[in-house]
């Protein structure tokens, strides 16, 4: 198939970017979206033009590196799929495709489609862990975890930290990301000791990074390649209020 691409090009975070047009031809429907971009880049290099920079690594939908918005959808049109797992059979011959970086004030563009998502790491660093030192753990079966809780913890922990939820949100909120980590750790017996502290710290770090707030558009869940549920957000709000209201007791 032949396609007309409009790709966001931006040299660095000090210059302005713009869409540029590229034509690609003989694209096989078995190619992944990123392989289609590889083909374009190979041609650009041979022509002595700057290849399109984009974050990518595992190409199997788990590392969370890829971060491009395709025709207005973070990771493209297919539900529950990262850009690297999106295949060209989902597009039509002759189609025009707009490709741009994940947009958010807290994700500054580094180059072309590459953005800086370190704000998400800082949210985790503020409290997204269970403080257990190496070597001090009890026997694993000393802490029974009901299967239902283990399952919901896993549902939440499936987040790959790509930031599509942020890019999809009209308010630029990182609440799906933050609430998923909170749910993962707060639902487990191991996570109880630090539950309040964690909840307060992560929510406040999220605000400090400049992310917006949820007003129930649910675009995040729709864009999430792992289909993380927005229910975690309402739970985070509830837990945050509870933690704040009872913080005096600790």
């Amino acid at each position: 198939m032949n396609l007309k691409l409009h790709i966001w090009r931006q040299k660095n975070n000090k210059t302005n970017g713009a869409f540029e047009q590229y034509a690609v031809s003989d694209i096989s429907e078995d190619m992944s979206f990123l392989e289609m971009l590889d083909v374009l880049n190979e041609d650009l290099i041979v022509e002595g033009k700057d290849p399109v920079a984009f974050d990518h690594d595992c190409r199997e939908g788990i590392c969370g590196s890829c971060s491009m918005t395709i025709n207005g959808n973070p990771h493209g049109p297919e539900k529950a799929t990262t850009a690297c797992q999106l295949h060209m059979r989902k597009f039509k011959d002759g189609q025009e495709i707009y490709i741009e970086p994940f947009r958010n004030n807290s994700f500054p563009v580094i180059r072309d489609l590459v953005v800086d998502r370190s704000a998400l790491d800082r949210i985790i660093q503020s409290g997204g862990y269970i403080s257990i030192k190496t070597g001090s753990a009890p026997d694993a079966n000393d802490i029974p975890v009901p299967k239902s809780k283990a399952d919901v913890a896993m549902d939440a922990a499936a987040c790959i930290g790509c930031g599509a939820c942020v890019a999809a949100c009209p308010n630029g909120a990182a609440m799906l990301f933050t609430s998923a980590k909170l749910k993962h750790l707060n639902v487990l017996p191991q996570g109880q000791a630090e539950k309040k502290k964690r909840t307060i710290a992560m929510v406040e770090q999220m605000d400090k990074e400049g992310f917006g707030s949820c007003t129930n558009h649910y675009e995040c869940e729709a864009a999430c390649p792992k289909s993380i549920s927005v229910e975690f957000i309402s739970e985070m709000n509830f837990e945050y209020a509870k933690a704040r209201a009872t913080a005096y007791r600790d």
């Binding site: 392989e35 590889d38 083909v39 190409r59 660093q125 975890v145």
Partner: protein
């Protein structure tokens, strides 16, 4: 130089405990005076960084990813082994040790493997306490499943995302230490070389991938946790950025490279579909628990799988290896698939594929149970191929997946370059000639959480380290070397992309130094690799400068190292004139096509010393002694 593995004396079950007592300790107040650089944030690097920081060391952790949560450990699907014996089916440290030595085809160091089996139980405790959401039984206890090469259920798992969850556990432990100030985390910086002062590894030079700036990082010891070199084949299940640069450049600075020819080919990957292909996707080996592997009995049978009756199918693993069947070890499964395809019985458009069929399992257990076990894998398969594995068998074919070889390390995980420690897939130590499934996660975390944090103290306590800074001549010289190499690459200004050369090298390596090797093919590879390298240095094209975010430069720099490294692999495969585990020399096989070892002549670790680009490296041998496991023909029949 004589290789000294520094294996402690005494009975194998006491070696590690005794060693921990014998090694030098650094008192807690003094630990903060020492600085350690860790390169890489996969399971090994993240767990080591977090643990070293908890102990009080100053840690500087470097990754070329944008975040320390991206390393390729994240893609491991199936599980992690541990000798917990929760299922009460007769497992023990001894059995895990035995299975691992046997699975490695008697080419690993007994003492290291025993220690690995011992600490495997601590890993599960640690990860569980961190909140890793392992699968549970209804009673709330941890669930297990079985994996290739074992007759007990000792594999812990978190759906099909065990690597992801264990990595996030280590990433979060690391985040905790970043928050506490113990770890300085540097992202988007690629290690370009090791700084050696007075024969000791004292730091690294990195290139900032955003600005292109070359930076000097100094420390008292350097730890490489930079993964394997499977991308030497171009197509592999590794992530795109996985490369040999860090370990190869350490090799050029004096660390010996051990057993580079031991490369594991994973039996269950999605077959190649076209020339543009950038990677091969692995389908977890755990699928072999319930899937049955078959090809048509007749050559060139092009019927749909549903039209091939039961008696015209060859369930070749069940036929050849009745006791292990579809769970035979990876090398055996991979080669059997290749044999069937070479015999003209392969399936799919290219004829390089075999079926992995869930029909019987779905009939026996129901679709829901299968969906719970493998749902995400089935979805992934469908997304890539467009086929639904609930209705039609999957097609699979082997692909390069893991590299058992790596930098040579002693029992303390230190390389032949003093002060340089190597952990995880980047070292050679525990898997011998073949790694069993669910053992990579175990080894990465064992090294990072439970082994290196002890043994590095022994080095630091004794090392005499002079004060250095960025102006020390050795530091400046290393930066200059890196700078020159980058300029040299840019100045070639040829006509072909870095990927062109990578693809060309990969194809050669897969054909001649891949799943099956022979003397003529290896000699041919040794003639061809320098030619590709020469062409690369005449004709590679990089766009842009070194002082910017430059993806063609990054790629070219990594390919340049693969083009040198590939030669050591071929030399090693040629030297090892026997078949062992994943290293299959066609000249050495039993009448029914099994790998035939030669214990008298090749019961050694081959550790190669750098002698110049294009020169034959010098071989050093570490003899392997088997005092606890009897050398035997590995049989899975």
């Amino acid at each position: 130089m004589k290789l000294d593995a520094r294996i402690p004396e005494g009975p194998i079950q006491d070696k590690w405990t005794k060693h921990k007592f014998d090694i030098n300790l650094i008192n807690p107040a003094n630990k903060r005076k020492y600085k350690i650089i860790v390169v890489g944030t996969g399971l090994a690097g993240a767990s080591a960084s977090a643990t070293l920081s908890e102990l009080g060391y100053q840690v500087e952790t470097i990754t070329f990813h944008d975040s320390s949560r991206r390393a390729h450990s994240i893609a491991a699907q199936g599980g992690i082994n541990s000798a917990k014996n929760y299922p009460n089916d007769g497992d023990s440290v001894w059995r895990l040790f035995y299975d691992t030595v046997k699975g490695g085809d008697f080419r690993s160091r007994e003492a290291n493997v025993y220690r690995l089996a011992q600490v495997s139980v601590n890993i599960i405790d640690q990860a569980t306490a961190q909140g890793v959401p392992f699968a549970r039984e209804y009673g709330g206890n941890l669930a297990n499943r079985s994996f290739g090469g074992a007759q007990v259920s000792r594999t812990f798992y978190a759906r099909g995302q065990t690597g992801q969850q264990l990595l996030l556990g280590a990433y979060q432990a690391l985040a905790k230490e970043v928050e506490s100030g113990g770890v300085k985390l540097r992202t988007r910086k690629e290690m370009m070389d090791i700084i050696v002062v007075d024969g000791k590894a004292r730091g690294v030079v990195t290139r900032d991938l955003v600005t292109g700036e070359l930076e000097t990082h100094l420390a008292d010891s350097v730890v490489l946790a930079t993964g394997g070199y499977g991308n030497v084949f171009y197509l592999s299940t590794n992530a795109q950025a996985c490369n040999v640069t860090a370990t190869y450049r350490a090799y050029k600075k004096g660390a010996f490279f051990a057993n580079p020819c031991y490369t594991q080919i994973h039996p269950t990957c999605i077959p190649v579909s076209g020339e543009y292909q950038s990677k091969l996707t692995l389908m977890s080996e755990s699928l072999r628990n319930d899937g049955r592997i078959w090809v048509p009995k007749a050559k060139g049978d092009k019927r749909k799988p549903s039209e091939i009756p039961e008696n015209e199918r060859d369930y070749y693993l069940e036929r050849k290896y009745p006791s292990f069947g579809n769970l035979s070890p990876r090398d055996i499964s991979s080669r059997s698939a290749k044999e069937a395809c070479d015999d003209g019985r392969g399936v799919g458009a290219t004829g390089y594929g075999v079926y992995l069929d869930f029909k019987d399992a779905i009939a026996r257990l129901g679709k829901d149970t299968i969906a719970e076990r493998y749902g995400n894998l089935f979805e992934m398969y469908e997304r890539i191929t467009g086929d639904n594995p609930y209705e039609t068998p999957m097609m699979i074919y082997p692909a390069s997946h893991y590299t058992m070889g790596g930098l040579w390390v002693d029992y303390n995980l230190m390389s032949t370059l003093e002060g340089l420690h190597v952990i995880g897939e980047a070292n050679f130590s525990d898997h011998g000639a073949n790694r069993l499934g669910a053992s990579a996660l175990m080894q990465g975390l064992a090294d990072g959480y439970f082994v290196l944090p002890y043994t590095i103290g022994n080095y630091l306590a004794k090392a005499e380290l002079k004060k250095i800074d960025a102006d020390t001549p050795e530091c400046k010289a290393t930066v200059k070397e890196v700078e020159d190499k980058i300029n040299k690459l840019i100045n070639v200004n040829g006509t072909k992309t870095p990927s062109y050369f990578h693809r060309k090298l990969g194809k050669l390596m897969w054909d001649k130094v891949g799943m099956a090797r022979n003397e003529a093919g290896l000699k041919y590879a040794l003639e061809e690799i320098p030619k590709i390298r020469e062409e690369f240095w005449k004709d590679v094209k990089i766009v842009g400068t070194g002082a910017e975010y430059n993806i063609s430069l990054e790629k070219a720099s990594r390919v340049a190292d693969f083009l040198e490294f590939a030669e050591i692999m071929a030399y090693d495969a040629l030297d090892r004139d026997e078949s062992a585990g994943a290293h299959f020399r066609e000249e050495h096989q039993t009448p029914d096509g099994e790998a035939k070892r030669n214990d008298d002549d090749y019961r050694y670790v081959a550790a190669w010393e750098y002698k110049g680009v294009g020169q034959r490296p010098e071989l050093h041998k570490e003899q392997l002694e088997f005092e606890n496991v009897k050398l035997a023909v590995r049989s899975y029949k």
